[in-house]
Symmetry: C2
Subunit: 244 residues, 2 copies
DNA sequence: GCGGAAGAACTTACACCGTAAGCCTAAGGT
DNA sequence: ACCTTAGGCTTACGGTGTAAGTTCTTCCGC
């Protein structure tokens, strides 16, 4: 080493008007959560460790524990931050304006947007244990449930119809979005390329129909299917509403 | 201890016709997978480690690696074994007998049965990466997809209609069953009982509608909802079929 | 019976993980 | 000038997956 070029001269920096790198951004909790989400988005959940996350923030792992009780809690916070992000979506309404169909359409599309924005993190929303059994993913916060139910009731839904709609809505969204997002993950998954001369030992393959339909199966109509299935769901909900 | 009662007398056992406990069941791969599934069913996925699994089988952790390439592969094998279990279900048909509705009804109920039989393991079926993007959970094996598609096509479905039905079917099942199973998990989750004098620091709670509907939200109509939603799905599929 | 080969388990070792406990330094109030 | 406190660092412990090497057991050809 020639006279420690890699060591920053803090005094000189201070004179130059720069902030010393340490203690300037005192490692806020939100910044930790944001960094965690960023990491997951970029490298996937399994790679996230407290030590690495600390490294990203230029800090030892243990320093994180001043702001976050532990890894589990951190992941919960990540989920929460994703739902919070959805709050900022301008398209989403706090209450119906042009009928409950429009209200639910906007909500469904909003959730789909965040799912597609965080394909690696979205499964967290689904797989993290929920504090109350009726608080179902992906509408994982009481505020959203309250918004949902109030919205429908204000449009003339009975209590039971609103609850039924809530269950159908969550179930539909969870299934569709998990699958849509998981195919995105498959695209960027482990490359898994065959080395030269390497031979994949395939089992005997005798699935002619799958073979023949491979093309049709691989086509991505997720967006259209989402719209159609959503519309069917809304019709179904309309029926629930009419019956009750 | 009075004269090592806990030590088995192997010779005496051999004379009595019993097999010595060691090396008699040479730790077959299927036995490992079955033990893993059993463990998950009983204690949940996060507690499963190679060392503990070895312990259960009366063996050091590293011995498992002779039959299983690693933990990830083991979990894949567990998923596979669950799907295999479904093959044995007598109610399931290899091809339609009383129409495609009956065919799909049986398949849906079969998958629901295994989901409810392994509530702790079922999320694995959904969250494990799939080798091909069109191989969607919970129908996670080419054989099942082949069976599904062939069944529908033999009943007069066009290729596209069959593929569309496949997508709707998987999406519906995944969403509904994941949610149904997750509420089961919540029941047996960490007890989380308040200690004497401990006070849960609740945030200010202002969700009157959720409050009022707490009862309705908590009621468990999963079975009925499953039937109704499944019937709606079948109607939807019938439409797809008619249109194409 | 015996030597050797092969199979199946055990042992050791490494890098990494989450996190409990304590230490060190610097800023701010008095 | 002192003390408090915040905000980070260091160390340490038990646990994890797994690569590599070792030891024991069993069986087969002679």
């Amino acid at each position: 080493m020639s006279r420690g070029d890699d060591i920053v001269d803090a005094d000189a920096d201070a004179v130059a008007g720069k902030e010393p790198p340490s203690a300037r951004l005192p490692l806020d909790r939100d910044r930790i959560v944001a960094a965690a989400l960023g990491f997951i988005d970029e490298f996937g959940l399994p790679g996230l460790s407290m030590r690495r996350l600390g490294g990203i923030l230029g800090v030892e792992a243990m320093s994180l524990y001043r702001y976050v009780p532990g890894r589990e809690n951190l992941l919960d916070a990540v989920v929460e931050s994703i739902l919070e992000e959805m709050r900022l979506d301008e398209e989403l309404l706090d209450e119906p304006r042009d009928g409950w169909q429009d209200f639910l359409q906007r909500m469904a599309h909003g959730i789909r947007r965040i799912a597609l924005a965080h394909p690696q993190a979205f499964p967290l929303v689904a797989s993290r244990p929920v504090e109350a059994p009726w608080l179902r993913p992906p509408l994982r916060s009481v505020r959203w449930v309250e918004t949902f139910l109030n919205g429908l009731i204000s449009e003339g839904f009975s209590d039971d119809a609103a609850v039924g709609a809530y269950r159908g809505f969550t179930s539909f969204l969870l299934g569709h979005l998990l699958l849509e997002v998981s195919t995105h993950g498959a695209d960027v998954g482990p490359l898994d390329v065959l080395e030269d001369g390497e031979q994949r030992n395939e089992k005997p393959w005798d699935y002619p129909t799958v073979d023949r339909l491979q093309g049709a199966l691989s086509q991505d109509h997720a967006a259209i299917e989402f719209e159609e299935a959503l519309e069917d769901l809304l019709n179904r909900i309309a029926l629930i509403n009419a019956e009750s």
